[in-house]
Symmetry: C2
Subunit: 314 residues, 2 copies
C-alpha cells in the first residue's frame, strides 16, 4: 500500500522507516513545518536524514500531503484535546477522498469518535487506531475479536511513565519528586510530564476503549480522573505490608470511565512493572483476558500502526 | 452463517448453544454415534436435551453432517495423533466442497498442517484454528496480527492441568500423586491425564504455533518433550528459595519445538497460576508481548471458535 504520513515525531519517523519491511511504500511524509512528496515512493532514508540535519523532512508545505497520492493516511501528529484539531480535519479530509486512515494520534478517537465514525460510514475508506491504546499491545484488535458485545469491562495500566514512577517508588522507597526527576533523566518522562502523571493520557485511552466497547458516545469530559502527582511513598509502603502495590488503573465498567491509583495484589496480572502496559478484559463466556507489552516507543507504536494497515479492508 | 458442528463434547455443545447469540445458525450437529440435521436451523436446545437424556443428539448418522447445508464446518471431534483421522478427512471434505472450516481439534493442524493448507489453497473456503492453542486466548490471531515474519520466538504455559498441578505442589508443598488425585476430583484433570502431564498436549500446541510461525513443516515428531509426571516437590522448594518457581513451558525458537519443566521467576509473566494459560511472543520491533487467560473449558474454547467464525473471509 501507499502511505502518506502526517507527523514526523518518534512514531511517524518509525512508521516511515519500517514501511518498506512491511511491504508498503511511503509517498508523502510531513512534519509540522514541511513535507516531502513523491508519488513513486519517497527515499525515506534521505527524508529522515534531512530531518536530522535541518529539522525539516522536505521542501513542500505540510498540507500538500493531503492532496498527495496514497491509499492510507497515517495520522501521527501530536494528540490535542477538545476539537482534536488539526488531526480531526486530516482524518475527515482523507475519508472524504475515500482513503483509509490509521491513527496514532489519540485526539480524534477520544474527543470526536462519533464524528469520525460518521465520516467513515460515508466513505469507502476505513479508520483504525490500534496504536492509540497500549502502544505495541493489540488492545483494539483483541477487543474486536472478542466482540465488544461479549465484553463487560476493560481496565489496565495504560501509561508507562506513571507506572515506571510508581514501580520505582515502591521498589526503592524513593519520593515522587525524586523518581520523576530520574525518569526525566532516563527519557521515560518528558520535560512536561503533566498528561502522564495527572492521568489525562490514561483517561484518553480509557475513553477510546469505552467508545469501542459502547459504539461511541464518550469524550474526555466523561472520565473521572485522579493522577499520581505527589503520590505519598508511605502509601506504597503500607500496601506492601499486605502483599499489595499501587497502580494507576484506567477502567471502563458500567458505562463509566475512571482513572486513579488503585490497590493491586503484588501477584495480580495488573501489577506490571516499569514502563510495561497491560489491558484486561472481562468477557461474558471466556473469563478474564490479559494482554501486556510495551506501551510506548516509536518502533513499538509504529508496529501497531503497520499491523493496522494490514488489517484494512477486513 | 450456517454452522455444521462435528463433535458434541464440551466444546461442540457450547458452540451449538452459543451460536445464536453470535448471530449464527446451526444446521447440523453430530456426536460420535448420531446426528441431527435441519437446513432451516436446528432446535439446539432440543438436540442438547436429547444428548443429555439418551446420549445421542439425533437420529441421523454422523457422516450425514458432511453432506448437510452449511457455510462453515466446526471440527470439534477429539484430537488424534499420527494421521489425525477422522478429523483430517472431515476438514478436507469440507474444503473440497468450498466450505470454511474452524477447528477445535488439534490433530489436523499439528500432525498434517501442510496437507490441510494445501487443501485450503485449492478451496474457496478458509481454515482457522484459534481454539486449538490456549483455549480462549487469541494466540493465533495475535500472531497473525504481529506478522509471523516479525516474531522470533513463541513460548508459554499451554496446558492448564499441568499448571494447576505445579501451582498446587508449589503453594501447598504436596507431592505430585496427591495433587493429581485432587485435580481429578475437581475435574481439572481427566481420568487418564497422560497427554496433559507427559507434555504431549502442550507439544501439540507448540507444533501448531511453529507451523504458523514458519508456514508449516512441523509435526509432533519434531518436538522434544519432557513432562511433569512424578515431578519432585523438593525441586519446587529449592526454586522457591531463590524467588523462582517451575512451569511446564512450551517453546518455539530457532526452528525447534521443546516442552519441559523450566525455572521461572515468581514475578515473571510466565508464572501464571492454576489453570491459566499464557502465550508470549518475542517480536522484532515491539519487544515481548504476553496474552493470558483461560486455556480450557467448553464455553471458553467455544468463544474462540466463534471468534474464528467472525474472522472468516478476511
Amino acid at each position: 500500500m501507499d502511505l502518506a504520513i502526517l507527523g514526523a515525531g518518534a512514531v511517524g519517523r518509525a512508521v516511515a522507516a519500517l514501511a518498506g519491511e512491511y511491504g508498503h511504500r511511503v509517498t508523502a511524509l510531513a512534519d509540522s513545518s514541511s513535507a516531502s512528496i513523491d508519488r513513486n515512493g519517497l527515499d525515506v532514508d534521505a527524508a529522515l536524514a534531512r530531518k536530522r540535519n535541518s529539522g525539516a523532512v522536505g521542501e513542500d508545505v505540510p498540507e500538500s500531503v493531503l492532496e498527495a497520492e496514497y491509499d492510507t493516511l497515517v495520522e501521527a501528529t501530536p494528540t490535542t484535546l477538545g476539537d482534536a484539531e488539526p488531526g480531526y480535519s486530516h482524518v475527515v479530509d482523507a475519508l472524504e477522498r475515500d482513503r483509509h486512515v490509521v491513527l496514532a494520534n489519540k485526539g480524534p478517537v477520544a474527543e470526536r469518535y462519533d464524528d469520525v465514525m460518521a465520516a467513515a460510514a460515508d466513505s469507502e475508506g476505513d479508520v483504525r487506531f490500534e496504536a492509540t491504546v497500549g502502544g505495541a499491545i493489540p488492545a483494539i484488535a483483541t477487543l474486536e475479536g472478542l466482540g465488544p458485545e461479549h465484553v463487560s469491562a476493560a481496565r489496565g495500566v495504560l501509561n508507562g511513565t506513571a507506572n515506571f514512577i510508581l514501580t520505582r517508588m515502591a521498589t526503592e522507597g524513593l519520593a515522587y519528586e525524586h523518581v520523576l526527576a530520574e525518569a526525566q533523566d532516563l527519557g521515560v518522562a518528558e520535560a512536561d510530564p503533566s498528561f502522564d502523571v495527572d492521568g489525562t493520557d490514561a483517561a484518553l485511552k480509557g475513553v477510546i476503549l469505552a467508545n469501542v466497547l459502547h459504539d461511541g458516545g464518550f469524550t474526555l469530559a466523561d472520565a473521572r480522573i485522579e493522577g499520581i502527582e505527589d503520590f505519598p511513598v508511605n502509601a506504597l509502603d503500607v500496601a506492601a505490608e499486605d502483599g499489595n502495590t499501587i497502580r494507576l488503573i484506567g477502567e471502563v465498567a458500567s458505562g463509566r470511565v475512571r482513572v486513579g491509583p488503585r490497590l493491586v495484589p503484588d501477584n495480580d496480572a495488573l501489577a506490571v512493572s516499569g514502563t510495561m502496559n497491560i489491558v484486561q478484559y472481562d468477557t461474558e463466556h471466556a473469563g478474564r483476558m490479559n494482554i501486556s507489552g510495551r506501551g510506548a516507543g516509536g518502533e513499538e507504536t509504529a508496529s501497531a500502526v503497520l499491523a493496522d494497515v494490514d488489517r484494512l479492508g477486513c
